[in-house]
Symmetry: C2
Subunit: 352 residues, 2 copies
């Protein structure tokens, strides 16, 4: 038995109908709604074949049929070829929305993940670049009170991090800038994650400005290291988690709660995204997911890169009965938009 053209047509019709209505599809429905020019009886025979081949199942004897994960996989693989070329979202428009009100990376991520969930109506995520991989470009001390300074770290890709530091001694205002530039000079180009290992060298090199800055510099450094150590290893933005309450498959509060608990836990999410592939676009359907909690879900992930180097991922989680067409093209467009936005910022760096 093979997947001839008519079987494919019928299978697609069933999937499409099920995606729309979340209800088991019968032969009569297919015959009426989709013009295939054959009677329900014929379709029944074909559906029986499709079930035997593992593409469909019957929830119970007198019900219509539902696509299996295998069916979705086939559907997606087929869809794939067509989506590759086109994308139904205007990239420039998308960029506009993302960059609106966003004057730093943090806002870009927040905006992006929000758009993603609003477009797809599913739960969306963005894994931000690992901070510890970021390279220090500048360090600037900003006095806040006499015993508090704000240490502003300018990293590559326009990422800015502040660390509030409490001092036991006062740093004279006029030395602030001098210390800032010394720190910048010595720290420039180091990865945030590497700082601890080069700590000793830096302290030694900075020794010569000790006299002018008193002991405060030596108080500053360990504190800075410590604060950097506290930076999250990963940073995940999520949005639209409660969208699942709109889906009929999560009409049951217990099921919804299970899902929400899972996706609200940043640790499990982080693991999940570690597992996903590093292709431009990855799709895992139902049981293909490693996590039991997601056995009824599909996960569409994409990566974004700088100069070919993967720095983060975006993703959408929805029911296996998902509008793959729309989600795939949205995720694709979004990753492209992020590539552009981030690369552009990064290119600024290179021009220096």
């Amino acid at each position: 038995m093979s997947l001839d053209k008519r079987k494919i047509k019928i299978l697609k019709a069933i999937i499409s109908s099920y995606i729309d209505n979340a209800e088991a599809v019968g032969s009569r429905t297919i015959s009426k709604k989709y013009e295939l020019g054959v009677s329900p009886a014929t379709i029944r025979n074909e559906m029986s074949d499709l079930e035997e081949m593992g593409f469909l199942i019957q929830p119970h004897a007198s019900a219509g049929r539902i696509p299996t994960d295998k069916a979705y996989r086939y559907y997606v693989d087929d869809l794939w070829k067509k989506v590759q070329s086109s994308s139904n979202v205007n990239l420039h428009q998308l960029r506009g929305i993302i960059e609106e009100k966003a004057n730093e990376m943090d806002s870009v991520f927040k905006n992006s993940v929000r758009i993603l969930s609003q477009f797809t109506k599913y739960t969306s995520f963005i894994v931000a670049p690992q901070l510890k991989q970021a390279i220090i470009k500048r360090i600037q001390l900003v006095p806040v009170t006499d015993k508090k300074v704000l240490l502003v770290l300018v990293l590559n890709s326009d990422i800015v991090k502040q660390v509030m530091i409490n001092l036991s001694n006062t740093i004279p205002l006029e030395q602030m800038d001098k210390i800032s530039s010394s720190l910048t000079e010595k720290m420039y180009g180091h990865k945030l994650g590497d700082i601890d290992s080069v700590k000793k060298n830096i302290i030694q090199e900075l020794y010569y400005i000790r006299e002018s800055s008193g002991d405060s510099l030596f108080e500053l450094l360990p504190y800075l290291m410590e604060q950097i150590g506290k930076f999250e290893d990963f940073n995940i933005y999520a949005d639209g988690i409660t969208n699942i309450l709109n889906l009929p498959e999560y009409n049951d509060v217990v099921k919804a709660r299970e899902f929400i608990s899972f996706v609200e836990d940043k640790n499990s999410l982080a693991k999940l995204f570690q597992i996903t592939g590093e292709n431009a676009l990855d799709i895992s359907i139902g049981h293909e997911n490693q996590y039991n909690e997601l056995r009824d879900c599909s996960l569409i992930t994409a990566t974004y890169k700088i100069n070919g180097k993967l720095i983060g991922k975006i993703g959408v989680i929805g029911p296996t009965r998902m509008d793959y067409d729309k989600v795939i093209s949205t995720v694709k467009s979004m990753s492209e938009a992020m590539n552009e936005i981030i690369s552009q910022n990064f290119n600024d760096d290179k021009e220096e």
Copy 2:
């Protein structure tokens, strides 16, 4: 008919039982669980009286009884006297948790609202001080790329805001600090919200440094104004929204969705918190809430202040059948902790 001692005892027993189980309470239950030394029949008579007085209702003839909003109001007003003095949460411990990992106000708010929701198991909020009321203490430009500068605004209460600014011209590095200190000098003490009105004066006053900084300063100022204008009027932190899925009264997905939609909308929340009183602690129960969406909920709010001036609110929303005792004391402790933390930061300002 008056609320004699026994009636009060029975009423409290009923409320207490209903808070625990969310199930209508019968006379036998009360007689067995709570040692009152009277038979169910007697309790029935008393319950009948309490119903007549408006403290109880019967969902249907053959069911037990449920406390009304009036009963909760009585319960809370009574509870009030006892809670006033004691608080079951260790304030120092609380401060420790809040300040852990928090090196700026933003983290303090995030931590606090999280703790609040984890302690109470209900949806919690914090309304942050209105940024536009904040006073500028320092302005520092931090170069990011040649055509991008980060403008760091240090405000009172240790609040720090950054604004990324894209320039069309380059500002020479060596002028950065000069411009920073000029800006600080002129802007110091102004409210963020007032800047627009003193804009012209400032520009005039800054005119004399025009020559050294070229036109870039004049490009900077309008941009800065614009960015400040974009600051949210209010900033609300929320946590534990999905906690309501654990409550039996929100077993219905439609009801849960309604609630979630309401509290996820920052605008409606902002309005809600505008309505609430400005006492140290306010409680509004069920129908006392102005919003229909919250007619089955109670809202416990507290304020936090600096030198007696209200700067923000915290709150917990839960079902009218709420563990008032726990929530009230938690909210109370939290507002006290925030008062301490924030005032301490603010006192630093005053010492200058």
